[in-house]
Amino acid sequence: MKNKSTAIFAALALSASALTVVSMSPAANAAGGITLNAKAVGPAPAIAGTKKGGTLNYTGKSDVNHLDPTRCYDTFCMNIGRLLWRTLTAIQTDGNGKQTLVGDLASDVGTASKDSKTWVFKLRSGVKWQDGTDVTCEDLKYGISRTWDIEGSNVLTSGTEYPVNYIENKTAYKGPYTTPTGDLSGVVCGKSGSVETITFKLTQSAGDFNFQTTMPNYAAVKKSKDTGATYDDNVFSNGPYKIESRIKKDKSFFVKNTYWDTKTDPIRLQNVDRIDMLLGQDSVNTNNLYIEDTGRATNGMVNGPLTQNVPLIYDSEYDGLKLRFENRGYYGKGPYVEWLAINVQKVTDLNLRKAIQCALNKESLRATAGGKSTGDYTNSVVPVEFGYPAYTVCTDNPKGDLAKAKTFMSKVKKNTELVFAYSNATTDAENGALSIQSSLAKAGIKVKIKPIDSTDYYTLLETQSKDTPDLMLYAWGFDWPNSSTIFPPLFASDLVGKDTVGENKSRVQDKALDAIMNKALAESNATKQTALWVQADQYVSNTIAAVVPLWQLKTLLWKGSNVGSVYNSISNSFDWATVYLKNPTK
């Protein structure tokens, strides 16, 4: 999934990962250290020290992109959105950071057919909307069906398309706005005795489908409350909080949803009375509040510290948090990996791409992003927890290897000037751009750096136009711990269209790679599947040199001293679902 500040130095919004070593089983059990609990019930696991009451706040520059679950696909909206919507299954995080897959709207974790193409989930009873009405299977089916509208780019935009890629659609359904009387054939509501069930008919085997259903696309939406494109601001809640008022990019207030019943919810707690979000705030000022722990900061959640403040919270010699931040900060590995994407459609000479891989000075680039605390060097786009065999991309020296770079350059037929685009939102981004320009220049590669307004930046990376850059920074995190959520979403050739490329920023269209990926997706044997992903990994980095892997991002987080919360590696930040105030009267 996209990091909230993808492709820009994620020192701004990093978080720790509590994930342990992952095993690559696509089967329904034990995906990557996360166990399954088919019988989970509410309330969510108690966290020591929890108190009830008070107002939690958030202060930041950017607002949540989309609160509409169908359109939500970054960690920020997923973390906050969970207060408002519940998905079919979800990952529960307890007070020690242990993660378990449980049913959220479902009461179990689903049962698969032998070929993993049919899945049946039982639904919980007693889950209610903010007006007291029951959440029904129809509501869930309606919520899922809205993804088909995004696929056709009609009313809704953004979000992922997992449901469209996996669920059967025999009636050419095009979403609830274009085909309002249509029916999504792959999702069937039924009853098993007195319990509601939902059955999914898939177009391909998916041993980890019950992990896919943790995605926000699988949230319920009540049809009568769906306001289409403006649902973003009017989300109708079935979670512990509901929207009291919301002015996008300015202020949002959430209050308790009195119809939410803790006994039906194994993920969330309802501790604070009120949540107050203030957006459009200057980052330097906000950071200063958090350094001093005054004003809004004391009861506040916030993004990570700005690079220049990193030395205040992080001790590089000890490689950990400074003493005064120990109880209100977090530092550890995150699930995201950052790399420099090379646009293979424009930079067609493999020798030039390999030269770039050799010439890039990762150490200097990392320093502009904050240094050691930004991340650990890697030669792959896959997190180290997956346990894939290590390999070298040109050199293991983070300063790069100029001699090798020059050797490749001597074989390059046409040395054109390359364009590196970056978002001009921060000075770090500019320094990073200058660092790339200067290190590549030493090998004779000419790079022009182009600042882009932050609001247009992602669109530029995603669309095909004459301004499409040759080089760009990008970061990615798995949606759940399997390379099936890394390689296909990033490198499948069918993503590259005439107008957009989705997440395939390198514009890779390689039949051999597609073949490896498809084989892996269909392979149900864990060991064989892993071996195929390992092949794909080395293919992307070395055979076609579509990326220059940089580092696995670390998380550095801070919060107010009065806020109690746990990390959540999936949302990559302090968890909002179980947050509380240590002293609610403050």
Binding site: T307, T368, L434, S438
Partner: protein, 324 residues
């Protein structure tokens, strides 16, 4: 043929038949503050002009990243006190990149002065020409120019520059001119001149109106001089005083304007050094590393102050009674 001094009662040191310029020079020499200011200005100009020589002496480069002088593990903070000041790096180094701040300082001076001088020259040339034409020919030309000037002056300068810069660049991109640091400098100078000529034109027009009625002009007309000869050979030389004053007051305002634009991140483009841009980048580091901001901020203040004092000195030298 130069005109006779216009203030016959104020000839210094009993020397007669001195030109106005020569008299002004003598007066200026006695103004201590102005000489001091000129000295400062001289220092800055010297630094800017010889920037490359400094690079040769210190072996530093304003664009080169120096990884060994910053703490690569920890936010790229400079190693050492006062932001990394050392014998190699006289003003310290820039956090995150390790670029030498002294080199960025002298090259920044060069950027500011190039933009300021070019804009001033452009302003003076355009403004004087239009002012001369409007003043001498009068009539419809004068009226039209007057209205155009009024119209341009209604735009709030800074706001317009901030808005116009990207728009201008985008339109020119359509003609195939790519955005680049050099091009941005040209854009800035163009916009400054577009606004600046108006003040000069008005002043010059006023001067021309009064000069136009003088006897020496009638004499020249009677002698059969063409209009252009009168404008450029008779009137223009008498404007040297006011023009010099305008120039020395315009320069600091352009230096300030460029610094403000760079501070707002709509001025010069990376990696062009600029004092305003340095002030912008140094703001978040102020508590940890005050020298980073103090050096360009204080220098900007001194530069603008010196130019202003110098300009005042020039103006007083040409016209101590302050009549014009």
């Amino acid at each position: 043929m130069s005109a006779i001094a216009s203030n016959p009662g104020v000839i210094d040191e009993s020397k007669e038949n001195l030109s106005l310029t020569q008299i002004a020079f003598l007066r200026f020499r006695r103004d201590k503050a102005a000489i001091f200011a000129l000295g400062f200005v001289g220092v800055f100009v010297f630094l800017a002009v010889t920037a490359n020589v400094f690079g040769w002496i210190t072996h530093q480069d304003p664009y080169l990243f120096n990884e060994d002088v910053i703490n690569l593990d920890n936010g790229g903070t400079p190693i050492g006190k006062f932001g990394g000041i050392s014998s190699m790096h006289w003003f310290g180094v820039e956090p995150g990149t390790g670029r030498d701040l002294f080199m960025r300082f002298v090259h920044g001076a060069r950027t500011s002065l190039i933009i300021a001088f070019a804009s001033t020259i452009g302003t003076i040339l355009l403004g004087t020409f239009i002012g001369l034409i409007a003043g001498y020919f009068g009539g419809l030309i004068e009226k039209v120019v007057g209205r155009v000037i009024d119209f341009i002056l209604t735009f709030p300068f800074l706001l317009f520059v901030i808005a116009a810069t990207p728009v201008l660049e985008n339109s020119l991109e359509r003609f195939g001119i790519e955005q680049s640091p050099t091009f941005r400098i040209i854009t800035i100078i163009s916009i400054f001149v577009f606004f600046g000529w108006t003040g000069t034109a008005r002043l010059v027009r006023g001067q021309v109106l009064s000069l136009k009625e003088r006897e020496f002009i009638d004499a020249a007309r009677v002698a059969g001089a063409s209009k252009w000869h009168i404008i450029f050979k008779e009137i223009l030389p008498n404007l040297s005083g006011p023009i010099l004053v305008i120039s020395t007051l315009a320069l600091p305002s352009y230096v300030t304007a460029e610094a403000v634009l760079s501070y707002l991140n709509v001025g010069v483009i990376a990696p062009t050094p600029s004092w305003g841009a340095t002030v912008l980048r140094s703001t978040p580091y102020f508590e940890a590393n005050p020298t980073y901001m103090l050096i360009p901020a204080v220098s900007l203040t001194l530069l603008v102050l010196s130019f202003n004092l110098f300009g005042d000195g020039i103006r007083d030298a040409f016209d101590p009674k302050g009549q014009k």
